[in-house]
C-alpha cells in the first residue's frame, strides 16, 4: 500500500546518518499545495535553529502534484523521505505510516499549510523534557466571532465529558516522543484528536502557545454540522478507550436500566389488570413497556458478545507495553 522513495544512497551522505536522527518531521499532504517548497524551507530553518540532525517524512498520494517538487528538493540534497500511497486513505493513516518510519527520538507532525510560526519548533521540542506530547495552541488566533464561539463550545464539551483541558485540540503543530507516536493507532478522523487520544491513554500532554504564521490565510468558519460531527468523534474515542476491554460495563448499564424500567412498568400494568380491573386492551403502554424489556435484553446480549470477543482474543490484545526489563 505504501512505498518509500528514498534517495540513491550512493549520491547522498545523509543516509548514513539516518540511524541517529534527532527529530523526524512527518508532514501529510492531503490536498493541493502549491507552496510546499516555501513551507519546507520555513520548517527547515526552524529545525536547523533547534537541533543538529533531522529528517522530513512527507506522506502523500502518488498522483499528488507536490510529489515532483519534493523529489526535486530531495535530489538537491534535502533530508527528505517520501512515503506515497497509491490512494489517499486519510490523514490518520498517513500519520501512522510516517510514525512507523520515523527514525528520530522526537517525532513532529507539521501541517502542510502555513498555520503556525515555524521558528517555535525548538520551543515545542524542548517542552518534551517534561511531558510526552507537546501540542501547539494558536494564540493570538484571528477568527470571526462565530468561529471562536463554536470553538469555545466544542472545547467546553471536551473538557466536561472527556476531561481534556485543551484549548486548541485540532492544531496540527505537535511534537511526540517516538515511543508515544508508535503506540498511537489512528484511523478515520482521529488525527484531529491525537492529543485527546494520547491523554486518555495515560500520556502527559502539554499545550504550548504559538503565534500563527505570518503567511496564514484567514480560514473560513466551519459549519455547525462539522462541530456536531466532532462531538460524535470525541464520544467514540472516549468509549473506545474506557470500555474497549470491558464492553458489558457500558452496554450492561444501558441495557439493564432499560430492562429494569421495562419490567417494573410491565409488572405495574399487570397488577393493575389483576387487582384494579383495568383491561389490558386499553393500555397501549403495555407494548411500550415490553418493548423496553426487549431492547434491554438485546443491548445486554450485544455487550455479552463483545465480552466473548475480548475473552477469546485476549492473548492477542495485549493491554500493556513493557518499557524495559532491568536485570
Amino acid at each position: 500500500m505504501t512505498a518509500i522513495i528514498e534517495r540513491d544512497p550512493n549520491v547522498s551522505q545523509h543516509s548514513e546518518m539516518a540511524t541517529d536522527v534527532q527529530v523526524s518531521a512527518v508532514i501529510p499532504i492531503g490536498g493541493a499545495t502549491d507552496h510546499i517548497a516555501d513551507l519546507h524551507r520555513e520548517y527547515r530553518s526552524g529545525l536547523e535553529a533547534a537541533v543538529d540532525s533531522f529528517e522530513f517524512l512527507y506522506v502523500l498520494e502518488q498522483r499528488s502534484p507536490a510529489l515532483a517538487i519534493l523529489q526535486r528538493l530531495q535530489s538537491e540534497g534535502e533530508p527528505i523521505k517520501l512515503i506515497t500511497f497509491a490512494k489517499w486513505h486519510g490523514e490518520a493513516s498517513a500519520l501512522c505510516a510516517g510514525f512507523a518510519r520515523a527514525a528520530g527520538d522526537v517525532v513532529l507532525t507539521l501541517p502542510a499549510e502555513f498555520q503556525v510560526d515555524a521558528s517555535r519548533i525548538g520551543e515545542l521540542i524542548k517542552t518534551l523534557d517534561h511531558c510526552d506530547v507537546a501540542v501547539g495552541k494558536r494564540h493570538p488566533r484571528p477568527r470571526s466571532a462565530i468561529g471562536s464561539l463554536q470553538g469555545r463550545v466544542f472545547h467546553f464539551f471536551l473538557r466536561r465529558f472527556a476531561g481534556a483541558p485543551f484549548q486548541d485540540v485540532s492544531c496540527d503543530f505537535r511534537a511526540l516522543k517516538r515511543d508515544v507516536a508508535r503506540e498511537l493507532v489512528l484511523y478515520g478522523e482521529q488525527h484531529r484528536y491525537l492529543p485527546l487520544l494520547a491523554l486518555v491513554q495515560g500520556f502527559k500532554v502539554c499545550e504550548v502557545e504559538v503565534p500563527p504564521s505570518a503567511k496564514s490565510r484567514n480560514r473560513s468558519v466551519h459549519p455547525v454540522g462539522k462541530y456536531l460531527q466532532s462531538m460524535l468523534d470525541v464520544l467514540s474515542i472516549v468509549f473506545l478507550v474506557k470500555f474497549s476491554r470491558k464492553p458489558l460495563r457500558f452496554f450492561g448499564m444501558i441495557g439493564m436500566s432499560l430492562f429494569g424500567v421495562g419490567s417494573l412498568w410491565t409488572l405495574f400494568i399487570i397488577a393493575q389488570r389483576v387487582f384494579g380491573d383495568q383491561p389490558l386492551m386499553e393500555r397501549p403502554a403495555l407494548i411500550l413497556s415490553v418493548l423496553l424489556v426487549v431492547l434491554g435484553i438485546q443491548i445486554v446480549a450485544v455487550g455479552l458478545v463483545g465480552e466473548i470477543l475480548i475473552f477469546t482474543r485476549s492473548k492477542d490484545l495485549k493491554e500493556y507495553k513493557i518499557a524495559e526489563v532491568i536485570e
Binding site: R249, V294, E307, S314, E319, Y320, A323
Partner: protein, 325 residues
Amino acid sequence: MIEAERRQPELSIVVPMYNEEDNVAPLCERLLTSLTPLGLDYEIVLVDDGSADNTLRNLRAQQQRNPEIRVVRLRRNYGQTPAMAAGIEVARGRTIVLMDGDLQNDPADIPRFLEKMEEGYDIVVGWRQRRQDYLFRRKIPSWIANRLLARITGVNVKDTGCSLKSFRAELIKGLPLYSEMHRFIPVVASMAGARMAQIPVSHHARQFGQSKYGLSRIYKVAIDLIVLRTLISLAGRPFGTLGWVALFAAFLSIGGFIYGVGVATTGDAMSSVTFAGLSVLLAALAMFLFFLGLLVELLYGADELRIENLASLTVRQINPKTPPA
C-alpha cells in the same frame, strides 16, 4: 554459566507495584529473607506500573544490590491486572507466585505454597486469616462477593480478594488475563479443570501508602460476574444457551399470537391488537437472539481459545521422566 542457570529458575515471584515507594525496601528484604533459606533457584519480578512517585528509583536501587531481582518498567499506568500479566509474561520460573506490593501479604507464607504445589496442585490460593481491614468498607462487601461468586460460578473460592497465589507457569501463562480479571483467575483456572488447593495465610494491616480500592468496584465486580457466568455457560454449547432464551421468547410470542387471534374471533378487536403487538415484539427478540447465538458459535468456533483448549493447559504427563542417558 550463571546465565544458563537463570534461564529456567524454579520459582518466580511476581509483584505489581503502583505508587509503593515506602514498601519497596521492606518488601524486598522480607522476600529475600524468606526465600534464601529455601536454597532453590528463584527470581523476583517487580513490575512498576507507571508509578508517579519514587517507586521506580527504589526498585532500581534494590535491583542493583540483589541479582535475583528483575524490574519490569511499564510505559505508563495500566492497572493491576495488566501489570500482573506483564510480570507473568516476563517471569521464567516453573512455578509463579503472585502477590501484592503493599506488604499485606507475608512472604513467609510462600514456602507453604511451594509445599502444596509439590503435592501436585496446579494452583494454590491464599485465604486471609484475621483480616486487618475496615469492616464495612472492605470486609463485608468482600464476604458477600465471595458467597455470590461461589454460587454463580460453582467454584468455591474462600477469599477471592487475597492476592497471594501460586501457579504452574504453563497454566497461568495460558489463561486470559485482562481488564480486572485477576480476581477471577482461580475461577477461570477451575473452568479449565485445574487442581486447586486453598491454604490459610497471615494478613497485615497496610503500613505505608494508600489503598487503591473503594466501594465503586461493586458494580464492576457484579458485571464481571455476569460475564464470567455467561462465558462459562456459553463455552460448552455457545448456540445452545442463547438458543434456549430465543426458544422461550418464541414460545411466549406464539402464545400471545394464538391468544390474540382467539380473542379477535370472540369480537374483542382492541385486546387482540395489544396481544398481536406483544407477540410481534417477542418474535423480534427471539429472532435477534437466534442469530446472535449463531454469531457466538462463530466466535468460539473460529477461535483457538475454546474450553477444550483451556483444558489442555492442565494436561500433565504422569509417566516418570526418562532417566538421563
